[in-house]
């Protein structure tokens, strides 16, 4: 009760267009209090990997009670999508959630699932830490960076129209409010996680007003965090440096389109979407962790899926909840299991099944 009131009170009124997400989720780690979290197992391999996460959390003794919600088979008119109003209310109430891969049904008359979640929950920042997994060899060994992507506007505003036949215009929108919001989160994240440097990625030499506004907002926020280094990097150089020498980057904050591309590029550096955790931050301190890979219908139900991405995302969720020691234990267990190499799923070149991998992780906790 007290917690909930604290949460509601901490959402500050919007002042001059700046909406502050509470800097740290004010969940206290009072012993015995279980936190309720929403779980969307998703489609395809989703349910299996969600089970793995639940198993690992049980073994680690994490005090979380899951509320499971599934994508419906009919469009809910209140949300205009296959996600029901109850599911969304659940996330709004619990403030934390974990989402597995969801396959968007094709067709008209409904919004895409990701779009629904984003709009209804006000998810404005997508955070992806990309760390090379020790023991899993890729061409890059020392990647240790975090990409923070503005998730609501920019080039993905969806505002396009055909001017005359054969000429199409698409609008890219940058607002001060959204840029400030994501910059605030980026610097707060950097501070809370002991990161030293934040780099704003842009193309302001060409798109002077739009990316110029984004940079201005980042600079304003940077002044409030003098202990964190701030730099601005043009996207060309950023791409080149990422593929040549990714160790030079720490935290990257970017508008929507660049963020999309760069975060996938960084996922590629560490081994692909099957190993990359991700977390969406929303208005009012909502944290929805998700696995960004697909639902892989061809291996669904065969106990072959790799639960790493969902597990690492769940660890991100735990850190948001400030269960840091439990998060560290689970994280280390996962890293150890992969590093040892005895139990690896097929996509990492091994022969273990999902359950074998999960059991190995549990053993290491």
């Amino acid at each position: 009760m007290a917690l909930r009131r604290l949460l509601q009170g901490s959402v500050l009124p919007r002042v001059a267009g700046r909406a502050l997400a509470p800097a740290v989720a004010p969940f206290s780690t009072e012993s015995g209090e279980t936190i309720r979290a929403t779980l969307f197992p998703g489609d395809g391999i989703g349910p299996e990997i969600a089970e793995s996460v639940k198993q690992v959390f049980n073994v680690a003794g994490v005090p979380i009670e899951w509320e499971e919600h599934y994508v419906g088979t009919e469009v809910d008119p209140r949300t205009e999508s296959f996600l029901t109003w109850e599911s969304l209310e659940s996330v709004r109430r619990n403030k934390v959630g974990l989402k597995g891969p969801m396959a968007t049904p094709i067709g008209k008359g409904h919004r895409s699932l990701n779009l629904t979640l984003r709009k209804e929950l006000g998810l404005y920042a997508n955070v992806r830490p990309c760390n090379s997994l020790p023991g899993y060899k890729t061409r890059y060994d020392d990647v240790n960076l975090v990409t923070i992507r503005e998730n609501t506007e920019g080039e993905y505003s969806g505002l396009e129209h055909q001017v005359v036949r054969g000429v199409v215009e698409s609008l890219k929108i940058i607002t001060r409010q959204a840029s400030l919001r994501v910059a605030e989160y980026a610097f707060h994240y950097a501070k809370a996680n002991g990161r030293e440097r934040v780099s704003a990625i842009h193309k302001a030499n060409i798109m002077r007003k739009t990316d110029g506004l984004f940079l201005k907002c980042c600079r304003e926020v940077a002044e409030k965090y003098p202990e964190i280094q701030y730099e601005e990097v043009i996207i060309d150089n950023c791409c080149m440096t990422l593929v040549k020498n990714p160790v030079l980057f720490d935290v990257l904050v970017m508008p929507n389109l660049y963020g999309d591309i760069i975060s996938d590029l960084c996922a590629g550096l560490i081994g692909g979407l099957g190993l990359t955790p991700s977390c969406n931050i929303g208005e009012g301190g909502i944290c929805l962790a998700e696995a960004v890979h697909g639902s892989a219908p061809d291996i669904a139900g065969k106990n072959l899926a790799n639960p790493t991405a969902l597990m690492l995302s769940a660890v991100m969720m735990l850190r948001h909840l400030q269960f840091n020691d439990k998060a560290d234990r689970i994280h280390n267990a996962i890293l150890q299991t992969i590093a040892e190499g005895k139990y690896r799923t097929a996509d990492l070149g091994g022969k273990a099944s999902t359950s074998e991998f999960t059991n190995a992780v549990c053993d290491h906790i």
Partner: protein, 377 residues
């Protein structure tokens, strides 16, 4: 006359055969050249004028290197140099006039000040001369270790519209809009150029890079144009890939890509990623071409002119501009000069003794240039 016979004489009198650019011919090792010859038309050897823009930052250093090498080869080009700097409001009319006359230009980078006032002169030149295709050739150089092998990608990027239309305005304070414009006309001609390039250079596959799942109308129009042109080239494979997946695949499995055709912004990103995996923007040549004119420059990231330290210490990498000038020589139909220059540069890199800092060495620009001149056959 003397200019043309000197290289011939030198080759005849050379004690050792220069490495053949066609190593698969059986006689490659024995005699220097036993391939079907290039038969020029009378007068083809007349020197051609090329506009030279040294540019900012490392530009003057590296264009100076090109000049030295061209002189050493006695290449039939003469340079008309013009000073242009990135902070000028526009490109001077006389420069444009010169490029229109010569049809070909070689330039160093022009640095655009970030965030205010001046629009990019690189972009302005491209729009003014309607150089609608930007081409970057990314390939592994033998002897230069990179994390990725088997890279041989050509990125062809639409150069005039898309996100770089420069149409921005502030709607109300704190809200800015930027227009991305895609037209059928421009998409069609870039697709045509890409397929024609693939056809003329014996390339097997063209991949269109897009984000049409989100930008359905704009990138949808681009894709439509590509598909139409693809039908006219049944011998060339065509496929499409979303830009974020493309970047991921480039770092994981670059050998699957051959020729890539993209709209403006994605082309910028993809070209930089491809250049990075193949060795860096210090070595990947490129150029911009239109119906009537061509400008050759650093392949990717033309606005990147290095920092003052490199300029001071004169350690800029001239390889990229040397390779771009080899592209230029081929474009001007001087194949033998192009081959010699390319071979010399490749041999210097393969040897590894003279390399600038971005390739892991410590040489100065002049040392690399001298090494290239020494290796000219």
């Amino acid at each position: 006359m003397a200019r043309r016979s000197t290289p011939l004489l030198r080759r005849l009198l050379a004690p050792s055969p220069s490495p053949s650019p066609y190593p698969s011919t059986p006689l490659a090792g024995a005699v220097s050249r036993r391939t079907v010859t290039y038969m020029p038309r009378p007068g083809d050897g007349a020197p051609r004028g090329v506009t030279l823009i040294p540019g900012d930052g490392i530009g003057p250093l590296v264009t100076g290197a090109v000049r030295q090498v061209m002189e050493a080869m006695h290449a039939p080009v003469y340079f008309e140099t013009y000073e242009v700097h990135g902070d000028m409001p526009t490109v001077p009319a006389e420069v444009i006039e010169s490029i229109r006359r010569n049809k070909v230009c070689l330039k160093g980078g022009l640095a655009t000040p970030v965030g205010g006032g001046v629009s990019s002169l690189n972009v302005q030149l491209r729009k003014e001369l309607d150089l609608y295709a930007a081409l970057v050739n990314c390939f592994n150089l033998p002897g230069l270790p990179t994390r990725h092998d088997n890279v041989d990608i050509v990125v062809i990027r639409e150069n005039t519209e898309g996100e770089y239309s420069g149409l921005e305005h502030e709607v109300v304070p704190g809200v800015v809009e930027s227009l991305k414009v895609i037209t059928k006309f421009c998409s069609e001609r870039i697709a045509k150029y890409a397929f024609e390039y693939a056809y003329l250079n014996n390339r097997k596959k063209v991949t269109a890079v897009h984000k049409a799942n989100i930008m359905k109308l704009a990138d949808g129009l681009f894709l439509e144009s590509c598909r139409e042109v693809a039908k006219k080239y049944p011998g060339i494979q065509y496929n499409e890939i979303i830009v974020d997946n493309c970047c991921m695949q480039l770092v994981a499995k670059p050998e699957q890509f051959d020729v890539m055709v993209t709209p403006n912004l994605y082309g910028n990103l993809v070209a930089n990623v491809a250049a990075g995996i193949a060795g860096g923007t210090g070595v990947m040549p490129g150029g911009n071409v239109g119906q009537d004119h061509a400008i050759f420059e650093q392949g990717a990231s033309a606005g990147n002119v290095g920092n003052e330290k490199i300029v001071e210490k004169k350690r800029a990498n001239p390889v990229v501009l040397l390779l771009s000038s080899a592209m230029m020589l081929r474009h001007l139909q001087f194949p033998s000069f192009a081959d010699r220059l390319e071979t010399a540069v490749k041999r210097v890199i393969a040897e590894g003794k003279y390399r600038t800092k971005d390739l892991g060495g410590t040489s100065t620009t002049q040392e690399v240039t001298d090494a290239v001149i020494a290796k000219l056959g």
